[in-house]
Symmetry: C2
Subunit: 441 residues, 2 copies
Amino acid sequence: MTKSMLTLTAALLCMATLPAPADEQLAYKLTEELTVEVGPRLAGSPADAKAVAWATHKLQQLGYDKVWTEQFSTPFWQRGNARLEIISPFPQSLVLTALGGSVGTGAEGISASIVMFNSLEDLMLAKPEQVTGKIVFINKAMTKDKIGSQYGKVVGARSKGAVEAARLGAKAIIIRSVGTSNNRFAHTGKMSYEEGVPKIPAVAISVPDAMQLSKIISKAPEAKLRLNMENHTQDAVSHNVIAEITGSERPDEIVLISAHLDSWDQGTGALDDGAGVGLVMATGALIKKLGQPKRTIRVVLFGNEEGGLVGARAYAAKHAAELSKHVVATESDFGAGRIWQFDSKFGPQSLSFAKEIQQLLSGHGISLGNNKAFGGPDVSVIAALGVPVVSLEQDGTDYFDYHHTPNDTFDKIDPAALAQSQQAWMIMTTALANSTIDFRK
Amino acid sequence: MTKSMLTLTAALLCMATLPAPADEQLAYKLTEELTVEVGPRLAGSPADAKAVAWATHKLQQLGYDKVWTEQFSTPFWQRGNARLEIISPFPQSLVLTALGGSVGTGAEGISASIVMFNSLEDLMLAKPEQVTGKIVFINKAMTKDKIGSQYGKVVGARSKGAVEAARLGAKAIIIRSVGTSNNRFAHTGKMSYEEGVPKIPAVAISVPDAMQLSKIISKAPEAKLRLNMENHTQDAVSHNVIAEITGSERPDEIVLISAHLDSWDQGTGALDDGAGVGLVMATGALIKKLGQPKRTIRVVLFGNEEGGLVGARAYAAKHAAELSKHVVATESDFGAGRIWQFDSKFGPQSLSFAKEIQQLLSGHGISLGNNKAFGGPDVSVIAALGVPVVSLEQDGTDYFDYHHTPNDTFDKIDPAALAQSQQAWMIMTTALANSTIDFRK
Ligand SMILES: [Zn+2]
Ligand SMILES: [Zn+2]
Ligand SMILES: [Zn+2]
Ligand SMILES: [Zn+2]
């Protein structure tokens, strides 16, 4: 048994006895409070400011040594009314949602015939005469697995579809929701425009509506649709919320644990990312109850992740001089499922320590993964600048059933799974904060 | 083996060889066509007229001997925009739907504090001072089973809640959706007013929203809500669509098989009642292919079931003189699940024939039920006037997950289950139509 193992074991013996029943459900209770008392919290909105105030107050109540906010400027994109109708030959409405950042149609709307592609790649092979003046429909299905491996293969249609369709002269783009549920919810999410390419409206329709539209097109290739949508963007501010448990021996060395405080506007952001917020807020607070760690634990609740890592970039810019003191960073942002794997991105000399952490986690059903940890979307910004990262991988089999839809609500969280995650977060964070290892090496 | 059993067995031997693969899926294909080409078809709407035209044309194509429509007058209730918001202390929107027939709020909306009851019965025990000037919330949950036995216990809040709340001075009523799914869909359905009691707006919120609202109320009993809703009612006409396979020996004796053609406006009415429409349209057509039955098989696609059996009452009035010649009637209106039981409501001398029919169905996993068959909602009108009825009972375990929500779409139908139902409908209808028994006796 190494010295670090001994330290960890001592800490865990304390933990095994200490947490009261209330403490075991702390992450769950915090997630509930955020989703009930604040609800949806789109970056830049009044609810976002309310979430920042809630988190600040709550972190103080939880006994953190320091709590502060860091303001940044951000666009505030707002969804307006939207309606998508088959005009002919089979008049009916489809369930849709604007993609985040999309322009509206203007009051007169857009009426056009439709052209369907099976993927973004197929669209990119099309000739302008197939697409010009039409509404493009990308009908690519997503299948589910534990790690959400299909997401990356499907999400391109959401993020880049409008640009590629507009290049070919399309008037608007509709995508099949990037999601795995057959429930009639449309998935939103960030899309982007490109300088010099016309900005066209971009929407997603639910999976059943995509199936319906493809049937309509196969019966009536000349089908005509009308899209009406009003969205608005204005300048706003948001905040990263930061709190620390000050290290007893190495206060300048930062173990950064994080989640994002903002959510899409359709659901209450329980899985994305209320559960992550609850987990990291609980982790620091419960560790402090067990005694001050050697290194500083910094909890960062990033603002505007959904709008494109806006808060994470602001953090990286503001803390550039301090990044070398960030010994490790991580984020919880993959729902509320059980943790099943521990991954690291450490220097070669630290790999044995990754194994030690995993052994502490093994009693919770967590195995050792690889040394290619992603760390999380916000943390990826500082990971790219050389900060070592770790990931507690969650089972995301059902995550994309709910993600970015109105159905992302608190009732979808299994308290037992979240309690398991909270245990894992405490064990891992304690180990990282009580270690003296330089994970860059 | 009785003589009637011999006749049935002969018919079944034919059936076992005849249906081509396309025929086995005929009900499924018809349901698909109706839900794709017509979609939602609220009684009195242009889509309802389109459904009538589709059904008439399709019944002719399917080879029915006679096809006609019977017009009736009906109110045409139309859903407008609706929005329900917590104003304070936790501002957020809830997912709602107007209950069918509800008045709107006027442009200014209704703002009021809220009072929650666990059931309609609890509301009815309340004192006016608890309710006056408030918005009532009835938060009664529904559990699921094969026969939907909870529906009757919960639906009273939907149909009578507005009257009881208004009697006590409430400004509006919100009910927890009469449904069994935790997906964020609000269930619509008919509500009623009473002469002399003020008409107040009535809405349902989804199950997760009901859970959320009850949490909000427990944290903030003084919570205030605002409801804005625009609904409209006008006079319209609709039609029952009727088709016959003329009986070869007893053409004046009618075996009535039915479903309802109208649907709510939120989904495409695939389970309620597109599948039923597909089943009974297919049944008559496939039986004719096997040879003319002795008695006339009359297919009735009732109009405006959802608005309160409007088409069924019109049918009963118009055919009053002919009801004694309706030897038996039945309806398919409980989704698209497998059939598991056969029930009758026959005279005592006919019970042995009910047993014979069930034995023919036993190979399809269908057991004998009771002699208290309901027959179906539309058919209940003529059952009350003495017409014998039968019911092929479907497994409705998941029916109230989808029923009356936007999620009632074609993708929810299992083609194998519908093929099993089609077989059962053909066997039962053939037996009834080739029998000479008076089921009243
Ligand atoms: Zn996220
Ligand atoms: Zn997200
Ligand atoms: Zn029905
Ligand atoms: Zn119904």
